[in-house]
């Protein structure tokens, strides 16, 4: 299976497939002409990566997850620990973003939003009312 087919079958772009190979997540065989050749197992890895990326796991985490996945004797505790630590990171970031959104929404609520120039948003950014 060529890289183009693998891309369509896995939902991972060709660019990214090559990149994942470059950083060692994947080692597809090569044909005589130098073209990459993807077997079923390679495709499974690509799908695994895509699902993990859909959950925003960083590639370094994915590298560890792949190692655990390949190791049939791993303790599920280790996977769980990795996942929960990622959950904590996701929630921390989500809450930080939501907090900023809420702050800014409050500021915008006090802004006339008309032709007049006075604007509490700019005032706040300026630090007028610290």
């Amino acid at each position: 299976m060529s890289i183009g087919e693998a891309a369509r079958a896995s939902g991972v772009s060709e660019k990214m497939i090559r990149h994942y190979e470059a950083i060692g997540l994947l080692r597809p065989a090569r044909q005589e002409n130098g073209y990459r050749s993807y077997a079923a197992q390679d495709l499974a890895v690509l799908r695994f990566i895509r699902h993990a990326r859909d959950l925003a796991f960083p590639l370094e985490d994915i590298r560890r997850l792949l190692a655990l996945w390949r190791d049939r004797d791993r303790a599920s505790a280790e996977v769980r620990r990795l996942a929960l630590s990622h959950v904590a990171a996701l929630e921390a970031k989500a809450q930080a973003l939501q907090a900023m959104a809420t702050s800014l929404k409050h500021l915008a609520a006090h802004c006339h939003g008309d032709d007049r120039p006075d604007c509490p948003i700019l005032d706040e950014l300026e630090g007028k009312h610290p």
Copy 2:
């Protein structure tokens, strides 16, 4: 005021102050010896930038906000529009992250997290139950 003092006074690192200058957010005067010299207005700009960055405004937005800030005749509506569009982006990202966290938490809840190797988290990433 030197860049070091400006950094301490504004809470923006020297590296970033130079960077903001490089991308044209700031034009500090220079002393005879080539050192940057920050006036009160420059400091105000740095503080403005920092506050905007604390709300995760991208630098391109900050460029526009600074222009609006400098323009005493701007319509507050424009500021408000920019702010609300940023709020939307923040909330979208926050919700996306939170959704991922929730999904992953559910998966982790079904994982024993002990010495046994079977793990619903890896099963899901693998796409065992699509």
